[in-house]
């Protein structure tokens, strides 16, 4: 193994690991840790004093915010556009109603088997007709976010991939780096050396699949973690069907996506999980891995560049 500076720390309700190779890697990895912890303090909805919490409580239509929150707001709109509204980061009230009101970091009880309400048949999720994500806009020159007062943003679905990408910009001159934000990963480096990215088994077994990635992102979304038993006794998790505002049970328990950036991978993996097994492969233009609720595994090959362009439209 090559010598890379490695820093692993608690962040975003999980474990973040930054690895950097080359001269000055130690300082770069330390700076990355500081930057990510600062972003966590600014973007966590569980911290009342965070920039995000203050924005969500602000009664004004346009609010001047920190640069990192500005990036998040811009990403909210992009995620909605890229997923046709399936990845909707404006469903904060809905997720709190579903029971996700406090941080569910590592160490909390984990539901061993992916939750699924008894007797309910899987159903693809659909976008919310209100399209809250499309009401968020950013004025970069003024440094302000515009959205209807009362519309709340949730950083949980997109912030990790976004921050991995922002950090990648800082680290791109180093021969090698990887930023693993709780499973949303961005790898790269000036050396162009491939790095193996394993896809975790939701059942806790050996990795399901591996990608060799020179530069790009890999993200995994699933309903096995950050899941709980609701007040009515039914299982619940953090991936909501935007149309109903309730946890989505689509027949897919885990979706992993490969993409040029971690943010894209995160959006693709969530969209694939939410749209169900029949349409999921079409949501993974750069390839990925699906785990269905019957335990079967599907490896999705990357589509031809032309098909990817069509999908982007």
């Amino acid at each position: 193994m090559s010598v890379e500076e490695r820093r692993s720390f608690a962040c975003f309700g999980g474990r973040v690991t930054v690895q950097v190779g080359g001269a000055g890697a130690g300082a770069a990895a330390k700076a990355a840790e500081v930057q990510l912890l600062d972003a966590h303090r600014r973007l966590s909805r569980f911290l009342p004093e965070s920039d995000l919490s203050r924005l969500n409580e602000d009664p004004r239509g346009a609010v001047k915010v920190s640069p990192v929150l500005l990036e998040l707001a811009a990403a909210v709109r992009r995620a909605g556009l890229l997923s046709g509204g399936l990845v909707d980061a404006t469903l904060l009230d809905e997720i709190e109603r579903a029971g996700y009101v406090g941080s569910r970091a590592d160490g909390e009880p984990r539901v061993d088997a992916p939750p699924r309400p008894g007797g309910q048949s899987p159903r693809p999720a659909a976008p919310n007709p209100a399209r809250g994500w499309s009401l968020v806009s950013v004025d970069r020159r003024a440094g302000t976010i515009r959205r209807p007062p009362g519309l709340k943003i949730d950083s949980g679905g997109i912030a990790k991939g976004l921050l991995a990408d922002l950090l990648a910009k800082e680290l791109r001159a180093y021969p090698s780096y990887s930023v693993d934000c709780c499973g949303d990963i961005r790898v790269g480096g000036a050396g162009g050396q491939p790095r193996t990215v394993h896809i975790d088994d939701p059942g806790g077994g050996a990795p399901l699949h591996s990608f060799a990635v020179r530069s790009g992102g890999v993200a995994t979304s699933g309903i096995g973690k950050r899941s709980w038993v609701g007040s009515d006794g039914s299982p619940a998790h953090h991936l909501l069907d935007p149309a109903t505002g309730a946890p989505a049970f689509t027949g897919i328990v885990q979706a992993s996506a490969q993409a040029p950036t971690a943010f894209l991978a995160e959006v693709y993996s969530k969209a694939a999980l939410l749209c169900g097994p029949e349409q999921a492969s079409g949501r993974l233009p750069y390839g990925g891995v699906l785990v269905l609720d019957d335990g079967s595994i599907q490896v999705v090959e990357a589509q031809a560049p032309r098909s990817r362009t069509a999908l982007a439209r």
Binding site: M1, S2, E4, R6, F12, G14, T17, Q19, G21, K160, S176, S178, D180, C181, C182, G183, D184, I185, V187, Q193, P194, R195, T196, V197, H198, I199, D200, P202, P207, S210, V218, A219, T220, S221, G222, I223, G224, K225, R226, Q254, S256
Partner: protein
């Protein structure tokens, strides 16, 4: 000199002058005609030579060979029976010599082939060693893997 004699001399002088001019003209015409003929002959020769494919620059050896063969044939025809026997012997000797030469060539070719094979084997061994070293270096430099799981 009387007037009649003077007129006759003048007539003769004019006649000579006219003859002289006519001769100069004939000479000039002849020179021009000869030059033209020489020019045409020279270029005609070049044209024929080029047209028949005997470019002296490109095909000097083949031309020479053809000429020598053409010269040898009449000599062969003129050879006496005794002389022919001598020629046959000489030919047999020549053939034997050629065979020996060819054997020697075969031997040297085999030697060269063996040398090349040995060189190739050595190079192949070196390449395999280099590849193994590179692989080892690559393995040593392999980046630590990461795992993407549910967040």
């Amino acid at each position: 000199m009387d007037a009649h004699e003077k007129a006759q001399r003048q007539r003769q002088a004019r006649h000579r002058l006219h003859a002289q001019k006519a001769r100069a003209g004939r000479l000039r015409n002849r020179v021009i005609a000869i030059s033209l003929v020489c020019f045409a002959l020279l270029w005609g020769t070049v044209f024929v030579q080029m047209a028949t494919g005997n470019d002296p620059v490109l095909g000097s050896s083949s031309t020479t060979r053809t000429a020598s063969t053409a010269k040898a044939r009449p000599a062969e025809v003129a050879v006496e029976p005794e002389a022919r026997a001598e020629t046959d012997t000489a030919e047999a000797e020549l053939e034997a010599e050629l065979e020996t030469e060819s054997e020697l060539e075969d031997e040297s070719e085999a030697e060269v082939a063996a040398e090349l094979e040995a060189e190739f084997a050595q190079a192949e061994g070196e390449a395999a060693e280099a590849e193994a070293a590179e692989l080892q270096a690559a393995e040593a430099e392999e980046l630590e893997s990461v795992t993407s799981g549910q967040s």
